[in-house]
């Protein structure tokens, strides 16, 4: 309707929208409106409805993803100009974002209800942020990437500061906001250079220009570097990670889980799109850049994690270092015939990491309800009074450490495989660095396990922990995924089998 009005105004021709392809986004947008409205009309003690609704819409928008996956062609051009693509790659990641969002809703329910926080607003922001991620997964254009990125970030800034009267939470929000905006500015500057060089905002068009030849090589290099730095902030790669530990520690635990998983994954989606579509001919620039970034990120994250006393900070540094592992295959994406394995490795890693990390946060949430503390020592003796939670946490930590037969091993395996596939000095050297880091990482995961299994209970309080139903559900989902992905990695690598993605990107 809007299109016809606009068309009548000038020479604007309405794009032919493939509504099936954008159905997940539409459902989410509807969800945002509904939750906002419901929040206005339900009494305070019934505000939990907003959470239920938010979860419902998250799952609801998975439905069209399923129908899109099973029907029709592999690649859908939602707007008809190749700037908003719905292919297997984007469908998988959209599903991941939505399910991760759902788990975050499950984790948030009790926390928000009991804390007396603004439930309706919170879920609206959460839905908005997830919508931004879902859009990012399909964006193949600088403008839509930037809009999606802001759309997912701005609500997250507010959510980080959600515990309004807690100074740490405020600090978390402000730090995240300031550095996030700074990153956006850097990114935007890089994007403007790209646009200046190519005269187009479409990623594939720009990719034809960024060849590191001609008389504008310097500008091209600067543009690539700026864009990558912008995203490096988002994925908290060292040395652009400084916001992450403080933000993770200060933000409410469910928000931390959300940031460390979904928001990070979104950053990687952005980098993937750019590396594969815009910089395919610039691997001489991004390879050393991402190589150094990956090596620094995994090493530094690990070394600092070793010294942490606070559980959430530990996971913050651990997730920084995991980010290095995810970056590693991307660095080698343009080398040899590693493009396919690298992409598969990144997507698989992100999925498995999401399940595992969300699970770990779910346990922290459940335990800290009793202990009222985030210190690692507060996990002392957990196995003696909450064997179930301790076992779950052990599974998640072992998965993060990459110990078979839990999901994490396959994620790490894929990453190793991709860089070894790429081969050469770059590939083998980072593989060895990563292998050493994998061992360092186990040291601090083991440290937590030791606390849970072998140390005495710090305050002697061994009343069992009652896990609330939503958190239990979150634990079940993430736990099953973590084990299943490890035993039958075929499941996740089948959805990560993106051999047709190159074709979709090539448009």
């Amino acid at each position: 309707m809007l299109g016809s009005i606009l068309a009548a105004v000038g020479d604007f021709t309405a794009p032919k929208v493939d509504y099936h392809a954008v159905a997940p986004e539409l459902v989410l947008a509807a969800g945002i409106c509904v939750v906002l409205l419901v929040d206005l009309f339900v009494p305070e003690h019934r505000r939990w409805i907003t959470g239920t609704l938010a979860g419902f819409f998250m799952l609801g928008s998975v439905l069209p993803i399923v129908t899109l996956a099973v029907t029709g062609s592999d690649v859908r051009d939602a707007l008809g100009d190749g700037r908003y693509m719905v292919d297997n790659f984007s469908l998988i990641l959209k599903a991941l974002f939505l399910l991760a969002g759902y788990v975050v809703v499950l984790l948030s329910t009790n926390e928000l209800e009991e804390g007396g926080y603004y439930q309706g607003e919170y879920y609206v922001l959460l839905l908005s942020s997830v919508l931004g991620m879902v859009m990012l997964a399909s964006s193949r254009d600088l403008v839509s990437i930037f809009v999606a990125l802001e759309f997912l970030s701005i609500p997250a800034y507010m959510m980080a500061a959600w515990r309004k009267r807690d100074r740490k939470s405020n600090e978390a929000g402000v730090k995240y906001y300031l550095l996030g905006v700074f990153a956006s500015a850097v990114l935007l500057y890089g994007m403007s250079l790209l646009y200046g060089l190519a005269g187009s905002t479409k990623l594939t068009e720009i990719g034809k220009v960024i060849t590191l030849t001609g008389d504008k090589v310097g500008v091209q290099v600067v543009a690539v570097a700026f864009v990558l730095i912008g995203f490096a902030f988002k994925i908290s790669a060292v040395p652009f990670h400084t916001w992450a530990p403080d933000t993770y520690e200060g933000a409410p635990t469910p928000v931390t889980a959300f940031l460390s998983v979904a928001s990070k994954a979104a950053g990687f989606v952005g980098i993937i799109a750019l590396v594969y579509l815009t910089f395919p001919a610039a691997s001489d620039v991004y390879r050393p850049f991402l190589w150094v970034l990956a090596a620094l990120t995994m090493t530094f994250g690990n070394l600092v994690a070793l010294k942490q006393k606070n559980m959430v900070r530990l996971l913050a540094y651990s997730s920084i270092s995991q980010g290095g592992f995810i970056l590693m295959p991307l660095a080698m994406a343009g080398t040899g015939d590693a493009a396919g394995p690298a992409l598969r490795a990144v997507v698989t890693y992100v999925i498995i990491y999401a399940a595992t990390n969300l699970g770990a946060f779910a346990v922290i949430l459940a335990v800290s309800r009793k202990t009222r503390s985030g210190e690692i020592s507060s996990f002392g003796g957990l196995f003696s009074y909450a064997p179930g939670l301790a076992t779950m946490m052990t599974i998640f930590l072992a998965s993060l450490a990459g110990i078979p037969p839990l999901g994490g091993w396959y994620a790490k395996f894929g990453a190793f495989r991709a860089v070894v596939d790429a081969g050469g000095g770059w590939g083998y050297s980072i593989a060895v660095i990563a292998a050493i880091n994998a061992v360092i990482a186990t040291a601090y995961y083991i440290m937590v396990m030791r606390e849970m299994w072998m140390k005495p209970v710090p305050d002697g309080d061994v009343t069992p922990i009652k896990v609330k139903a939503p958190v239990m559900a979150a634990l079940a989902i993430t736990g099953i995924c973590t084990v299943l992905f490890g035993v039958l990695p075929g499941l996740v690598s089948k959805v990560g089998n993106l051999s047709d993605l190159a074709g979709a990107f090539g448009r």
Partner: protein
């Protein structure tokens, strides 16, 4: 290359995963119902062993060199990893040994659950360990092997760390980090091997992670690359064996582990490393194996001497046994390093024999600790007077361990030394031979090691078993107090940590070997004698597979 027999394809999977079914059942039994928990666990282990025995009866001994009960299925298609399992004469003894040991350890645990109790978790961990161990011995796919190889890691970590001695946390962490370091490099080298063989292959699409592929294509890898890939595997397996200088986790882990953990560690887990050399590193990369063999040989002999000297310096019985493991595994590795059929046969025999004997020694150490609350050699004396049966069993195992002919230990040690006199050498070998003079020196030094072994074991026996009991334990002998056997150990078992506090508690009369110990030990003791007298039983099984394996080196 290998023949395969695709009979009864379900059999090995059943044997490997049956323990996990038991774990599932156990999850639903309340923790407080301890005897049901133990009962279900032991029944599961017994059923698993029955499957193992059935496997032995169905095994075609005429074709011990081929993989039997072979099955292959898709597993992780995108990375070309398959679920391929099979069993040949090399794997069979180890596969069944792992089942026997697990069952015996569990029976022993019936009234010996170490402090802090919680038999449910303890037995579950042992069953998980069993799956990992059995799976490693039947895996015929590198990725599958890796996964099973790693499955044992966490259960053993918790076993040492939760149920271990005073210094358990340090010991368990050290065990874990060493092993993890090895396996990370091992994984990288596995992947590298895959990528490199694929790039050499006529049909890259056919590349996969099955052992068969590497056996057929590994030899095409250029020598320099192969040496590096071998290095990664070497570290992974050498940590597990453990070989000098990667052995330092072992004395700590063994000393701190509960008896059950020590037994499993000694009897099976260490073998995963040597098995990896025999099954993977050497046959896949023969060109690198001939280059690495001297290094392995030298480190093995250093291990023999170092382990023996370490033993002589120990004041703790359990730590002494742990160091003797380093020495014994040195003999095994020396046999492997010769790359001859004799040497590898000896190594395989040594693996089983060491499993039986050192497993037994750790059992005995556990029982001594339970009775005397100490393993300090100078406080122990006169075992033969106070607990004569235990003393005699210790004597027999010490003799077996030092390689007395007629007991199993001899057939691991003596042929290994013999084989190193004549390692793979000669003209026109496809991958070159080994230096005769180097290995002959190694023979001489290794032979010295056996003398030292006799020294430290006899000395141990003399100090602990002979003589009169020390003053603090005098008058507590088992004589005339047999009614005491069946009860009263729970109190002891729960006290593994508090030696000093129980100085006075030790005034109870000492009991000799009780019925659970007899049930758990008799099979091992019989096996030590039987394989000592009739080594052919096992050599016959190993030999066809070994001959097949070393064919690639062209030696005799």
């Amino acid at each position: 290359m290998h023949d395969v027999l695709q009979n009864q394809q379900w059999l090995l999977s059943l044997g490997v995963f049956l323990p996990l079914a038991g774990v599932l059942v156990m999850l639903f039994i309340p923790k407080s119902d301890e005897s049901t928990v133990k009962g279900v666990a032991i029944l599961t282990a017994a059923a698993t062993l029955l499957v193992g025995i059935y496997t032995m009866t169905q095994f075609d001994y005429g074709k011990a060199g081929s993989l039997q009960f072979f099955t292959t299925n898709n597993w992780i298609t995108p990375i070309k990893a398959t679920y391929t399992i099979g069993l040949d004469g090399i794997s069979l003894p180890l596969y069944v040994l792992s089942m026997i040991i697990t069952l015996l350890v569990m029976i022993y645990s019936w009234d010996h659950v170490p402090s802090p109790g919680n038999p449910k978790a303890f037995f579950i961990l042992m069953l998980v360990l069993q799956t990992g161990m059995a799976g490693t011995f039947v895996a015929q796919d590198l990725i599958l092997f890796f996964v099973f190889f790693e499955v044992v890691l966490l259960p053993m970590y918790f076993m040492i760390g939760v149920w271990g001695g005073e210094n358990r946390q340090y010991a368990s962490l050290k065990f874990f980090l060493y092993t993890m370091f090895g396996s990370a490099l091992m994984l990288v080298s596995f992947i590298a091997l895959f990528v490199v063989t694929r790039s050499h292959a006529a049909d890259p699409e056919a590349a996969n992670f099955s052992f068969k592929w590497f056996l057929e294509n590994g030899a095409d890898v250029s020598k320099n690359t192969a040496i590096w890939i071998f290095a990664g595997m070497f570290i992974g397996f050498a940590v597990k064996v453990p070989m000098f200088p990667f052995h330092t986790w072992l004395p700590d882990a063994h000393t701190q582990a509960p008896t059950q953990g020590s037994v499993i560690l000694a009897a099976i887990l260490l073998k995963l490393g040597t098995y990896g050399f025999v099954r993977i590193a050497i046959p896949f990369l023969p060109q690198a194996a001939t280059k690495w063999a001297p290094v392995i040989g030298i480190l093995a002999v250093i291990g023999i001497i170092y382990g023996a000297l370490g033993c002589l310096a120990q004041t703790d019985m359990k730590r002494l046994i742990a160091f003797s493991s380093v020495a014994h595994m040195g003999f095994v590795m020396l046999g492997i390093a010769t790359l001859t059929p004799l040497g590898i046969n000896a190594a395989l025999f040594g693996m089983v024999a060491h499993g039986l004997i050192t497993g037994m020694l750790f059992f005995i150490a556990g029982s001594v600790k339970e009775r005397y609350h100490t393993l300090e050699i100078k406080r122990l004396s006169g075992l033969l007077q106070q607990v004569p049966k235990l003393g005699w069993i210790l004597g027999m195992c010490a003799m077996a361990s030092l390689g007395l002919p007629g007991l199993a230990g001899f057939w691991g040690e003596f042929p290994a030394i013999l084989s190193s006199w004549n390692p793979l050498h000669g003209e026109g070998l496809p991958y070159g031979g080994l230096s005769l003079s180097l290995f002959r020196w190694l023979t001489v030094i290794a032979a010295l090691g056996t003398v030292l072994a006799a020294g430290y074991l006899l000395w141990l026996y003399q100090r602990t078993a002979f003589g009169n009991p020390t003053a603090e334990f005098a008058g507590l002998g088992a004589d005339g107090d047999h009614g005491h056997d069946a009860h009263g150990h729970d109190a002891h078992g729960a006290d593994a940590h508090g030696d000093d506090a129980h100085g006075e508690g030790g005034h109870e009369l000492l009991h000799d070997v009780n019925k659970f110990e007899w049930i758990a030990w008799t099979p091992l003791l019989i096996a030590i004698v039987v394989f000592g007298v009739l080594p052919q039983l096992m050599f016959k099984l190993f030999d066809p597979g070994v001959v097949e394996l070393v064919k690639v080196f062209g030696g005799k």
